[in-house]
Structure formats: structure tokens, C-alpha cells
Amino acid sequence: MDGIHDMGGMDGFGKVVPEPNEPPFHAPWEGRVLAMQRALGYAGTWQIDISRAAQERLPPQVYLKVSYYQRWELAMESNLIERGFAGADEIAAGHALREGKPLKRKLTASVVREGMTRGSFFRQAQAPARFKPGDRVRTRNIHPLTHTRLPRYARGRVGVIERAHGCHAFPDAVATDKGDNPQWLYTVVFDGRELWGPEADAGVKVSIDAFEPYLDPA
């Protein structure tokens, strides 16, 4: 969706302000939110793209106002409720009022290391790759109302395939409960002037990782 999360190229947010000696968490609840999300993911509740999509659906004024882990928490609450894992009444009460749904597995202390291992997104190819490194491609001009990984600033632009990353689960499908729908993934590199116009810095190149359905030959 063309939401506030798709920030590449926007103006007006000001300078980047690094924080010296930044701690991993700024309050204890941030760590709890991160760890709960990990535990729910391990239990097979929903995929990470579904969490991302729920954050993107937050109203722009909320998205900009709250902190990073607040976004995680709000998205977690929405998914728990929408997917029937907990009721809004239970979250308001701060207690379970009904039995939980059976889950695939549970993250316990003895399997935490496994729970912290990043999953693989490689999937079996459904068709041969359409592009190879060196090919010129034009990104499609698409505006789905749901989750997509083709950022606005890189739509309808000509670039070159630089790397092929194999076939991956397709987030646009996963986030809409359509399964993995595996797609080839490529690094596509653009000249900065193709993205930002002839006045832009000629010494800048920008790449995105683009799934094959985002691309046409150019």
C-alpha cells in the first residue's frame, strides 16, 4: 500500500540524529514486545510479513507519532484479535477469559537458540528465472492496496539486474494469506539520476531487491 511507511525519497524529516552509547532497549517493555513477537512467530501464529503489513496499516498520524516497538505492539494486538488468538475483551482485561487456540509448538527456554535462528526464505522455483545479471529491466508501476516490497521511488524506473538471489517466498502473497507463491529475487541497481532526475548526484547508485513480478524487460 502507498502508506507512510514507504519513506524513501521523502523530504522534511530533518537530520539523522545518532544516539551515543545507545542501549539495546530504552525501556524494559521494548524487550518484552520483541521477545513476545519472536515467541509467537516460533509458535506458528503468523508470518513476519503479516506483522509488517499490520504496522503499515496503522493510520499515518499514529505511525509517525509512536515509537518503533509501540508499532510492533499495536500490530501484534491487531493480529492477535483479527486472527482469533485473543479477544479485545481479554486484552482490555489483561487476563485470558477463554481457552487459547492450539499452536504448532511453543518457544520454551530449552529451545530459545533455535527460536533465535533466522528462518530461510528460499523456496522451490515454480518456473525458470526470467532474468539474469546484466539484463536491463523496468520496474512496474503498481499500487496494490496491500503489502508490497516495491517502494514508490523505484516504480516505473529502468535499472540493471546485478545479482540473482534464488527463489524466495513472495511477501506480497504471504501478507495477504495467499501462501508463499515463490518468486525469483534480484538485486536491481539504478543510477541515482534515473530515480531523482538529471540534477541528482551522478556519483550515487541505489539498489532494491526486487521480486520477478515487479519487473519487465527494458
Binding site: 525519497g9 545518532p18 515467541a39 481479554e90 485470558a96 516490497r149
Partner: protein
């Protein structure tokens, strides 16, 4: 949700969030979905074990060991997996090398994708609107925010992490550090230089001079 017209990180809101998150955790524990002891271990790992020191070790080894460097650039996941990190690396780590001709910088304009396995949790600035909006359009300006000025002829390559691929920048080894040990080299490798918003530290003259 608590609202605060001034700033989202005021103390009152933090305590509201503390209560809200505690209530949510209670619901999830009572429903049998999560185990608080496992949450404690995850938090502890991110506070004490998984952090940029992991990535610094990778970079230091690559500087000292040409065969490892080659393997790292060919298949980052495979090479890093041999080092046995706490948060074990997935399948999609790509290491990109800075050269005098090209400086690499990593961003996730859509959210916060970051190589957690080797750098730990992303800093707040990496997830912030100023960085996400400007990194792809004005990377030299962003570098200036970090006090980094590159030679004009150095090209900048920005990697927007829009899929599950994760990028780690292999910075250039500072001049005059050839004789240093892996530990000494790792101490020069900052988190920011592995994101591409910084450069490695220079060794203290004295330390380098002894060698």
C-alpha cells in the same frame, strides 16, 4: 494507546506502555502461547550476546585472512556460519565491500531490515524517518550528519533492503594496521562502519607504533 502531544518517549507514556505490555503478556501466558522464561532468555541474548562485536569479528578476520574474505564476499551466510554466533545466521546475508572507488551504505526504507545476526538490534536512527527517507536520495548529506566526508570521486552505492536479503558492509582496512591481531583489528570496527554510515577507527598512534 497513550497519546502525548509533545514526544512519544516521555516517562508517563513509558509507564503506560509498561502496563499495557505486561497485560498483553499475561493474556498470552494464560492462554498457553508463550513462556516468560523463554522471553527472558531472548532479551538477555540481545542485551549481552548478540551485537556489533559479532560483525566486528567477521570484518577483522576478513582483513587478516584473504581466503576468508573471498569466501565472505562469495557467500556471506556460509562464511559467517563457520564462526558460531549466538544468533545463528540465516541464509540471506550478503557482504558488500568498500573500495576506494565505491562506498556502500545500507538502509531499509520500508521498515527496519538489518543484519541482526551480526550487528544485533538496529539503532533508533536506522529505523527513523530521517534516515529511511534520505538515505536513498541524499546519501552524502546523511553521511555528513554522521561527520563522514568521502572524496568527491568515490561513488556511493545505497542498498535498500527491500526483501529478506541482509547486507553487511566490509569497510576498508585502515592504513598501517597490517600487523595487528584479530582482536586489535576488531576493536577498530564500529557498528556504523558496517552499516556504511561510518568509517573504522584509526588505531592509536602508540598502539600501531609498537608493532
Amino acid at each position: 494507546m497513550a497519546t502525548d502531544d509533545h514526544h512519544h518517549q516521555h516517562g508517563s507514556e513509558l509507564s503506560d506502555m509498561q502496563l499495557r505490555v505486561r497485560a498483553l503478556e499475561t493474556v498470552l501466558v494464560e492462554k498457553g502461547y508463550i513462556d516468560p522464561a523463554a522471553l527472558d532468555l531472548i532479551i538477555e541474548a540481545y542485551e549481552t550476546k548478540v551485537g556489533p562485536h559479532n560483525g566486528a569479528r567477521v570484518v577483522a578476520r576478513a582483513w587478516r585472512d584473504a581466503a576468508f574474505r573471498q569466501a565472505l564476499l562469495e557467500d556471506g551466510s556460509k562464511a559467517v556460519r563457520t564462526m558460531g554466533h549466538e544468533s545463528r545466521v540465516g541464509d540471506h546475508l550478503v557482504v558488500v565491500e568498500n573500495t576506494p572507488q565505491q562506498h556502500n551504505m545500507v538502509v531499509c526504507t520500508l521498515c527496519s531490515c538489518y543484519p541482526w545476526e551480526v550487528l544485533g538490534l538496529p539503532p533508533v536512527w536506522y529505523k527513523s524517518a530521517p534516515y529511511r527517507s534520505r538515505a536513498v536520495k541524499d546519501p552524502r548529506g546523511v553521511l555528513a550528519d554522521f561527520g563522514v566526508k568521502l572524496p568527491k570521486e568515490t561513488q556511493i552505492r545505497v542498498w535498500d533492503s527491500t526483501a529478506e536479503t541482509r547486507f553487511l558492509v566490509l569497510p576498508m582496512q585502515p592504513a598501517g594496521t597490517e600487523g595487528l591481531s584479530e582482536d586489535e583489528l576488531a576493536a577498530l570496527v564500529t557498528r556504523d562502519c558496517m552499516i556504511g554510515t561510518g568509517l573504522p577507527k584509526q588505531p592509536e598512534r602508540q598502539a600501531a607504533g609498537v608493532r
